[in-house]
């Protein structure tokens, strides 16, 4: 699935709510991906009301695939050096 990736320091996946953020974090951690839940950086959420999953030791591509597979709706994606194919 092709998604626009907004330039930001670190890798973030914004989901619809904090519940889905924590659910997504748990799913990613079960797959061995380090993840944490944070308020979304202003670069990818101007209103400042979104929550994001910050991805550690994996590519955004892989994390997105896993979350898509778990039917977690992704609102937007922000990353530094990673692109989505």
């Amino acid at each position: 699935m092709s998604r626009e990736v907004i330039k930001v320091s670190g890798q973030y996946i914004i989901v619809s709510s904090i519940t889905y953020a924590y659910k997504g974090k748990e799913i990613l951690e079960r797959k061995g991906i380090r993840a944490s839940v944070e308020r979304a950086p202003t670069e990818i959420s101007e209103c400042g009301c979104h929550y994001a999953i910050r991805i550690g030791n994996a590519s955004l591509d892989r994390a997105i695939r896993i979350l898509d597979h778990a039917h977690i709706k992704i609102i937007s994606v922000g990353g530094g050096n990673y692109g989505i194919s």
Binding site: S16, S17, I18, T19, Y20, Y22, K23, E38, C49
Partner: protein
Amino acid sequence: MVYLDNAATTYPKPASVAQAVYDFMKDKGANPGRSGHKMSMAAAYEVYACRSAAAEMFNADGPECVAFTLNATHSINMALKGVLYKKGGHVITSDLEHNAVMRPLYKLSERGVRFSKAYVSLDNDDETVAEFERLINNDTVMIACTHASNVCGKILPIKRLGKLCKKYGLKFLVDASQTAGVIKIDMKECGIDYLCMPGHKGLYGPMGTGLLITSEGEKLHTIIEGGTGSNSESYSQPDFMPDRLESGTLNAPGIAGLRAGMRFASKILSGGIELSEMEYARTLYKSLSQIDGVELYTPLPDDGYVPVISFNIRGVASGELASALDKYGFALRGGLHCSPAAHERFGTLHRGMVRASFGAFNTKRDAIRLSAAVAQLAKQMKK
């Protein structure tokens, strides 16, 4: 004081519940899901962890299917009015319902929703299921019923009623006020679309906590809208769970306590804590049945009942008997138990019953002492 009013709310709560509430208020007392600072995130995780635990305990599809409410009544209102927001439709309920189900149905009847009450047999589930099936018509959209009566303790055959709903394409709402945490409930196995429960009864959480568990929350018409900490740029209520059904600040300290209570209840259900509440209820029933002038309303409760025994002394108002027992140091509930439908069924609408309901902290001695007190009062009060 011997507390035997656990069907109203369990008491005492496990010490871990009070500790969890205190710890939350002391260390994590920020608003969950609203801000991004560390304390708010810790509060949000506490809420999420309780959601996850509830989803696992009742075999829901996921933590997002768990909406926190104030109590079972709140949950039932959200589900009933959320499904039946259009004019018309027909609901089947039982003749043992609490007003938590009956009053919303009466309110809905003002806009054309009709409902029928199925007779629940106290000793033959085949008859109960047949009665529910007999009442289904072309307009029926839902079966909405209690899992167990708060007046007589009878458990309804919800697994079979769930199959009936599936067969006829009906929604299935279960009021688990007397059973959540007391009996294992598997939403998928029972075909439950809307599972409604309080947090402060068999789940041993604080009052002011309730749950509505559903995989269909996105489809519910909302009865309350407001801030959710999500989609804040829009004036429309979010279309995703649980935010759709959770407007306004949650009772997060209560939810932290509820999580601790659910751990306690889960240990009981998994056999980690030995409980004999039904044995005590049967002990009480047998003793009461030997006392001249005592009226009982069910057969000796078997596994088809929760530990609730209701009784009267012939010729004595239930409120008078409950007050007399209070003076002897027993906390029981007299009156109609907010369930006029059940009392109508038992012919006690005019006088109510006195209800003894057992919880995790009762003992056999409580049952024996209560029956001795009733025996004494029966001699004094019998008219």
